[in-house]
């Protein structure tokens, strides 16, 4: 009972492969346009890749070579797709919506309704059964959509940012519901929220530009990110470069830090990353001297409120961040375009192989 997929779409620069064990949930994250929805649509059968193979529970989903080959239609794949918008059928009642999957499979009307009621109870939406979708709130509709997808008893559940359109009150409710129903179920969930990845998924896969940037258990990724996106998720600064001696060479910079993961001399020449939290960064207007500190000359790109601090973004595309107090920002006269120095102690930097 396995699931595996490998697909490439030349036009989008997409090339991803993924496999899931029974009961495993994988969270897919990445910047916009990275190819997350593309992957889901390919698995669901709504998009033709140029080449690749997909297989679910022994059934071939597709097997293509330069656009030709075997292709199973979406309604025969045993997958169920839940999108950002609930897309409940507006002309059917909630109960009829949930019963849609079983009835399409040939289940007699009465049995389908019973099954639908069971799933509505599972998502705590029984009292909504005779309402029309137009009469539901966003959170209620999304819950019904979950019931509808589960009623088909899919071998693989596909969720495309299910919480994205919900407000801050409805999202946690749905998250708790999903945690309950996804337990023991094979699922792929696309999300922008690191909380979803932590709560719902066993593994995280980061997609960037149509390729897998990194993947692994969620906590590990967040503790030791190796891609810029993951670092952003974890709220860390990340600089990538080449390992050398006791530090990292990134362009013409040398960064020093802790490398407990690889004690002793670092293997020179290997790609590596250095991460450090914004709270450990100090901002100066002039270059600092002495003591084992790292100092980067950068140009301020942005200032944004961050809790009770100001997050100063600087560098190429705002890659690096420093958290300063509002008073410090005012004293320094920080404005976008100002040349400043980001200084961080070596003790606060962690270096490890990429």
């Amino acid at each position: 009972m396995t699931f595996s997929v490998q697909a490439a779409v030349a036009a989008r620069g997409f090339d991803v492969s993924l496999s899931l064990l029974p009961g495993e949930t994988v969270a897919i994250m990445g910047p916009n346009g990275a190819g997350k929805s593309t992957l889901l649509n390919i698995v669901a059968g709504l998009l033709h890749p140029d080449s690749g193979e997909g297989e679910l529970d022994g059934k071939t989903l597709f097997s293509l070579e330069s656009g030709r080959g075997q292709w199973t239609a979406p309604h025969r794949r045993g997958t169920a797709l839940l999108a950002q918008e609930p897309l409940l059928f507006p002309h059917l009642s909630v109960l009829e919506n949930v019963a849609f999957g079983p009835r399409s499979a040939g289940v007699p009307r009465r049995d389908a309704r019973k099954s639908a009621l069971r799933w509505l109870a599972e998502v705590e939406a029984t009292e909504l059964q005779s309402r029309r979708p137009a009469q539901l709130s966003g959170g209620q509709a999304q819950r019904v959509a979950v019931a509808r997808a589960l009623a088909t008893d899919p071998g693989l559940l596909l969720l495309d940012e299910p919480m994205a359109a919900l407000d801050i009150h409805a999202a946690p409710l749905l998250r708790r519901l999903l945690k309950r129903v996804l337990a023991g179920r094979r699922a792929i969930i696309i999300t922008h929220d690191v909380l979803d990845a932590l709560m719902l998924a066993d593994r995280v896969m980061i997609l960037e530009d149509g390729r897998i940037a990194e993947q692994g258990p969620t906590r590990e990724i967040l503790q030791s990110p190796r891609s810029r996106f993951a670092a952003g998720l974890a709220g860390l600064n990340l600089v990538s470069g080449t390992l050398a001696g006791h530090g990292l060479l990134a362009g013409d910079l040398e960064i020093y830090g802790q490398h407990d993961e690889l004690p002793g001399q670092l293997p020179a020449g290997q790609p590596g990353v250095a991460v450090f939290p914004p709270s450990a960064v100090s901002v100066f207007l002039t270059a600092a001297h002495g003591s084992p500190r790292n100092s980067f000359a950068v140009t301020v790109t942005d200032l944004e409120p961050y809790g009770d601090r100001i997050r100063v973004r600087a560098g190429d595309g705002g890659r690096l961040s420093a958290d300063v107090t509002p008073e410090a920002a005012a004293d320094l006269g920080l404005v976008p375009g100002l040349q400043v120095y980001f200084v961080v102690k070596a003790a606060a930097v962690t270096i490890y192989p990429a």
Binding site: R77, A83, F89, G101, S104, R131, R132, A134, T152
Partner: protein, 286 residues
């Protein structure tokens, strides 16, 4: 009438109303003139004469039949034009719209060349014992020919607007393409389908040129109401006007029935709306 409307900004400048009024008058005045010409004392006898009733009955029957035929042929056409992808799609659309610009008489001649005794298909049909010319079938064919584009255009527009997101969802839920069509696509465009059918029916009711050229004119068989009016005006102008009023009234009734004001933004046509429970949570729509 002095209360201000509570709805928001309308966005229509005042002078548009003036021109719109002129447009409305342009259509209404000839109707009013006709109504003024009606010989009211003689009205009932004129419209209930044998030939009038026969013509009206024939018109209603043939228009209903041709609307049904338009549905059978037009729905697949509209689906293919809106959702399909194949070479020559644009060309097909142009051809389907052809009867809209073709003078109906020309349409009738074309049908004659196809189904007439010497026609493309008519020759074979004649051998098989099927004679179409001068029959009620010919009337239905003529009406379908001119009314089909109305249904196709109306429905294709509705299908394009609706998009195919719901169909994709239905497929992922395990519904076969035929099931998707039956349970999702058609129900969602029912309003567009209904308005297209109404337009087709109205057009069929008023069809004249193609019927005259292709089907002929015989009481009870092929003489629909427009043909009856055309004939009556030779000798009895009063009868012609009276019957015209009947035709206008029937068409107006059909259109009014189909274009009732939509209820509270609900896009379904057959739904009974459940009472909105006074639920504290929800109640609103995203």
């Amino acid at each position: 009438m002095a209360q201000a409307r509570s709805s928001g900004y309308g966005g229509v400048p005042r002078w548009i109303y003036v021109i719109a009024a002129a447009g409305g008058l342009f259509v209404l005045l000839p109707l009013a003139a006709m109504v003024a010409e009606v010989n009211w004392p003689q009205f009932i006898p004129l419209v209930t004469s044998e030939s009038s009733l026969t013509a009206l009955g024939l018109s209603l029957r043939t228009s209903a039949a041709s609307t049904a035929l338009c549905l059978v042929l037009g729905v697949p056409l509209a689906l293919v034009l809106a959702r399909g992808r194949f070479p020559g799609q644009g060309l097909l659309r142009s051809f389907v719209l052809l009867p809209l610009v073709l003078p109906p008489v020309v349409g009738g001649i074309a049908l004659l060349y196809t189904f007439g005794r010497q026609g493309l298909l008519g020759r074979t049909l004649e051998v098989a014992g099927v004679q179409i010319a001068f029959s009620t079938t010919a009337v239905v064919l003529a009406q379908t020919f001119v009314a089909l584009p109305f249904l196709v255009v109306s429905l294709e527009g509705a299908l394009r607007t609706a998009g195919n997101r719901y169909e994709a969802v239905a497929a992922t839920l395990g519904a076969r393409p035929t099931t998707v069509l039956r349970r999702v696509t058609i129900p969602l465009v029912l309003p567009g389908l209904a308005s297209g059918a109404v337009l087709s029916f109205a057009r069929s009711l008023g069809e004249f040129g193609a019927t005259l050229t292709f089907a002929g004119s015989l009481q009870g068989v092929t003489r629909t109401l427009p043909l009856e009016i055309y004939l009556q005006r030779e000798t009895d102008a009063d009868a012609a006007v009276a019957l015209s009023l009947v035709l206008v009234a029937v068409a107006a009734a059909v259109v009014a029935l189909a274009y009732r004001r939509p209820r509270s933004g609900d896009s379904t046509s057959a739904g009974r709306e459940s009472p909105t429970a006074a639920h504290a949570s929800g109640g609103g729509v995203t």
